[in-house]
Symmetry: D2
Amino acid sequence: MTRPAMRTDGAIVEATADAAMSAAIDAVIDAAIQEVNHRPRDRMGDRFRRVRRQSQVIAEPLSAEDCCVQSMPDASPIKWHLAHTTWFFETFILERFESGFQAFHPQFRVLYNSYYEGVGEKFPRPQRGLLTRPSLEEVQAYRADVDHRMLLLIDAMEAGAHAGGPQERLRAQLADFLALLELGLQHEQQHQELMLTDVKHLLSINPLRPAYQDLPEALVGGDPAELPLQWHRIEAGVVEVGHAGEGFCFDNETPRHRQFVEAYHCASRLVNNDEYRAFVEDGGYLDPALWLSEGWEWRKQLALEHPIYWQRDASGHWSEFTEYGLQELQPHRAAVHLSYYEADAYARWAGARLLTEAEWEHAAGKMQGSGREFFGVAWQWTSSSYAPYPGYSAPQGAVGEYNGKFMVNQYVLRGSSSATPLNHARLTYRNFFPAYARWQVTGIRLARGG
Amino acid sequence: MTRPAMRTDGAIVEATADAAMSAAIDAVIDAAIQEVNHRPRDRMGDRFRRVRRQSQVIAEPLSAEDCCVQSMPDASPIKWHLAHTTWFFETFILERFESGFQAFHPQFRVLYNSYYEGVGEKFPRPQRGLLTRPSLEEVQAYRADVDHRMLLLIDAMEAGAHAGGPQERLRAQLADFLALLELGLQHEQQHQELMLTDVKHLLSINPLRPAYQDLPEALVGGDPAELPLQWHRIEAGVVEVGHAGEGFCFDNETPRHRQFVEAYHCASRLVNNDEYRAFVEDGGYLDPALWLSEGWEWRKQLALEHPIYWQRDASGHWSEFTEYGLQELQPHRAAVHLSYYEADAYARWAGARLLTEAEWEHAAGKMQGSGREFFGVAWQWTSSSYAPYPGYSAPQGAVGEYNGKFMVNQYVLRGSSSATPLNHARLTYRNFFPAYARWQVTGIRLARGG
Amino acid sequence: MTRPAMRTDGAIVEATADAAMSAAIDAVIDAAIQEVNHRPRDRMGDRFRRVRRQSQVIAEPLSAEDCCVQSMPDASPIKWHLAHTTWFFETFILERFESGFQAFHPQFRVLYNSYYEGVGEKFPRPQRGLLTRPSLEEVQAYRADVDHRMLLLIDAMEAGAHAGGPQERLRAQLADFLALLELGLQHEQQHQELMLTDVKHLLSINPLRPAYQDLPEALVGGDPAELPLQWHRIEAGVVEVGHAGEGFCFDNETPRHRQFVEAYHCASRLVNNDEYRAFVEDGGYLDPALWLSEGWEWRKQLALEHPIYWQRDASGHWSEFTEYGLQELQPHRAAVHLSYYEADAYARWAGARLLTEAEWEHAAGKMQGSGREFFGVAWQWTSSSYAPYPGYSAPQGAVGEYNGKFMVNQYVLRGSSSATPLNHARLTYRNFFPAYARWQVTGIRLARGG
Amino acid sequence: MTRPAMRTDGAIVEATADAAMSAAIDAVIDAAIQEVNHRPRDRMGDRFRRVRRQSQVIAEPLSAEDCCVQSMPDASPIKWHLAHTTWFFETFILERFESGFQAFHPQFRVLYNSYYEGVGEKFPRPQRGLLTRPSLEEVQAYRADVDHRMLLLIDAMEAGAHAGGPQERLRAQLADFLALLELGLQHEQQHQELMLTDVKHLLSINPLRPAYQDLPEALVGGDPAELPLQWHRIEAGVVEVGHAGEGFCFDNETPRHRQFVEAYHCASRLVNNDEYRAFVEDGGYLDPALWLSEGWEWRKQLALEHPIYWQRDASGHWSEFTEYGLQELQPHRAAVHLSYYEADAYARWAGARLLTEAEWEHAAGKMQGSGREFFGVAWQWTSSSYAPYPGYSAPQGAVGEYNGKFMVNQYVLRGSSSATPLNHARLTYRNFFPAYARWQVTGIRLARGG
């Protein structure tokens, strides 16, 4: 049994070779190479440069100190993100495709391995913030070096593809290269979102309440106009879920398959701060009947009475710690930084529930295009545990550890958030976090029975 | 929105009154009462006596000391089980239906409340084993007293039902009573299984390796004949899942609804000790590539190298701690007491996977009846997280805490085990435990893609 | 206070073979053997019977369940105490002196080894309460068997001693036997005190507040008359501390040595409940300035606002959980069950301090004999960390683990308590517990500068 | 070793107002003021500048990242040390003596309060490393500002003292000022030692093994010549312990008082790496008979087999992580970074013991002056628990929290180490750490009975 494991911009690449599929795969690779041949040289290089540059942009407002520290085991230092994403290209691409490869630094293989058991030893995750050396400057040098070599390699690969019909061996190699390159860029984009949420968590602990950046003019006084919440009815039926066709996706979005959904209603927008505040002020955090048992224990142990970044002053006025520092709570913005437990409790209080991921994907497909906040505002918790799709299998080798091994005790989030890179969202994208996670930009879209 | 919350032997009872449904419900209650009228008096009493007696039978081989102690927070003392199941009848039935109700002991309401926040304070679960008082004898007296009063009440209820056409109010009351009575008996049966697994865990910690009971003649030398594992192919399609029709079920089995399953193969029997031993001896516990990331951390932290009740002597010979004490490992018996992590790792090693619960229910319905070990051997882990069925809602009041609030970070087990009471199994039954749980009689049924 | 006939300190228990000492040691052994020769046969047997019987008396009011359970890792089950003290005689005496010795049960060597690394494996301390088997009955049989064999051995040893002048080898053997016999009996008496305090802690957790025994007539309404607290001035000087001369002592009381104490005042009695209540009601538990830093963290973490067994009702009335169940707090009884942290904070609040152990021993020697509560009321925390006396060395072999290896991070308590066996107190006795311990009968005697 | 001109123990820091003492105190203040009058202006300012500068020197080789991070709760970031020592002067001196005082930053009072409950809220110690803001640069600005204001104040105070005979009120104020100034400088010197040991611990965790500084020429190949260990016998007698006379000391060194020490032998030098290695290679870390019970549990839990900064390569060769990076273990240098547990176990293995602090102070006084390593090599664990001297009382107010509140469950270390500022050592100095601490430069001086 075999299936495509991941796709590149214009190419699907096989992770496992299966005779029955190989003709179809060949065709796809042909198409990919075709595209390489017909587009202006350096397009791949451009994209590589653009994505890599974006990580630098995110780090720019931060000091070396800000970039070094880790506020909790779930988060990583900015400097570590910068190095790890570079390590990914060095380990999975340069080491394999660059002739005369030499590691930039022999110990970085261990220091910046996140969780790939197949690559060997890893520096312990909760200690990432203790690595004051290499310095931020040295990590920047590491990035520059790998970028330079990657661009040379991309150039050589493109040149090879342009130079006449590729041989069998070259074809396979190029396909692998393209797939891994795309994976590396998508991987870096995932870390770009984590950089923003991790540093926000770090700054939030500081009693000085430092801002990551200044409040843009555009946002001053900028609570958006109120959108009334509407319910869209969706009929029961067999729907298709998961990725198919052109374009990149992660292995966990495949294979596309059928699911049956009973009729349901989907909310037209996310729960906003005003609505969530009503839940808080109604005693929602103090009523066990509203909570999952495990969520209630979690809430009690941490003595939570509101979302992580909210605070109430003596006169009952609410503020929220944001990337712009402490700001007045804006009633019509989406309530964010909620755990699954909080999302679920709110839904129960509101007489509703969360969507399953099949429901979400189906509704988003139908309702999209009219500013429904499916993308770009907040990841939306679904009630679906993160599990393999029927027929899923992880790619071979260390890269196969990317997704599959996390498929237990996590919940799927759909859509994308204000922290997600602009072109890093997809109808079929499956984000996932443990139920207690609340440092991501996560919110609530409600559902109701049919 | 409303739906039946639970059903009794011969009656479906409404937890919430909804006009649209009420005619149908009326009919069901009529049927139930009809049945009461036409069957010999005391049938309900008989059943009550039988189930309650069974708990005593389970406790019989045990000393007062055995019954008092708690081996871990997940387990409870036998004495606590005996008292808590009694408390359930006292709190949810006698307190409501018995005229002139007086609590047997005012503090038992707190001592024996398991997790019902709606009932009030609870004695902390991890300290249940510290309650040397009330003594086992006093708990037996508590049981006797509540049994006596319950039987009087059952008698009175039956008499009321027989005495002419019941009035509206009486009808509703009788229906409630029947529903709660059945729930109490099913609840007691669930605890009967826990009594067996909890005491097994307690005895397993004792270096004397005490047997719960003597090995029956029938089992001496009794490794069953080998059944070759076969794969049954099941076609893709929309299937119905969940309980419908006559007979009791828990609220979490409802409502019956549709799911789409892609084609798959289901194993004809459970993984046996011989097969699991091969996994162990192949280094299965030492290869991170076989494990979910969280499972690997769990395994490492506990330094596990085999199932909880297995032990290997110096010469490599395997034994298993059983209810009959330490016994030679029987190769053709099902491998049991496995966590979800272990089941998942084994499946990956074997080139297979676990079933989803929809797949399990559908396969069991099709394949049942030919000794396929669906029931009575071991609960079978599914890859389905425990979640509400579409349209599910928990009953009102404290009884509503029975199932719904546990629907996060647990995995569904299907079938039933050698420790399950004989008439306490059902095609649609949803058992659930956290992924690390391994003190239940839990095993593996494999699946493969279509 | 009468003393046991044998002493062992400088002679036998202390195994440092020092030529200069050997003549003195010989003399002591001679005296011991002399005494054996001249007293009526069976006196040793009588004492053995009496001490062993006392443990049974303590267990008498308790059920098998009460005897089995362990309320915290610091405490042990009564059944375990009964078995462990028996194990001590079996392991350290019978195994060595009984011809044809056979262990009562091969696994008891592990099960009932408390902390003797030299004896081999130990069953983990925090799991002692999980040993429902052997049953209390079997442990009683174990006691009966060892008692029987010990009495036969004592008889044989006495007969040997009476039968003419013992040879060199016999002399040494007899001396060892007598020393170990006495150590075993003293050891059992130490456990008798722990039995009372451990079971009190267990019962205190039970919301039913069970009494260990009925309140004796004599104590009804029995708050003692108020004794005004007086300060006794003691002059500065070199004092002798530690055991010397006849009579048993533990190794940690030796050698007797000199210390210099500056002038000080010693309180005539212990702090009573009325005084301690004033501290509590003055906010003593809420003012960090009164506490050692570590004590303050401890108090905060446990959210303590009063002693462990005190409770205040809605109207501010204080009760205390006692061996007689919950009783009104008696103002003129000594405040007990205090940790070192609490004792130290109280002393600071009272403008005083605790005594050092040299001060205590010296004051007790001078002030004794006039009902000063030095003995029989409550162990008195000293400000002295538990450390070896100058010249101390632990005995050879496993018995040497009795005291020395605990000499870090514990504080010395002096005197004896209401739970101490009557003839188990001594001016030089050094009890010791960690600073957080409060389940022992521990109180406060104040001191002030000279 | 020159001493600061002021002393504060019996006079100023010690606030116990005792009539009998007041004449003596007056005399001391007179002497202090006298000295101020007769020495050249600005001597105090020079000393202030010198000590403050030294902290900067220590931080110089470190990056802002190195200065920001905290490797464990026991350690603090360099930046925090730089700020906290400044806070000390700002809070305890400027706030009180500067007219028109304004805090440099209102939140620094909380951020840089270490443990003074009397000052108010504190930022949680384990999170000190999360304070990426204020930046190192801002902390340097804070230092510069406080230094400037302190020097102005010192100048004004000196001018006031010189200007004719001070009045009663002025006298007291000046005395307080001088005492607090000296305390602040001594406090800063204590932190200078911690800066070195804290950053060493941080760097040690980094797999790159970064050096704090380059190995000086002088030390290359520089294992010192072997000094044979000799035993100095010291006779029994009453000795005086604690500080008296001129010169600064901390409150915990007072009052000077008498103790009796029995005769003993004191080792002429510290245990060296060669000797300690023999202990390690003899299985010293694997034999419970050598360890205190608590030490053994500690060792087992951390799975220790050698000192914290040692490592052994495959061929059995030992290296040590030092401030110069990883270096070959030098056999004749003192073994350092040992916990009390390790020191005690080593002593037992060597047939010796640790000194008490009275023994140490007495021996150091007698043996000093001939390169005996009492000072400047490694702090020496004593077997004395950290406790108040007879007659000790802590100063009033927040400054009184400096020492007294830590007097429980810590052990006294005597001497000074290679990391101690040169003029920050004293015969009577009492350093103290918990028994598990091993990140300080701590070693072993052996003792034996008389």
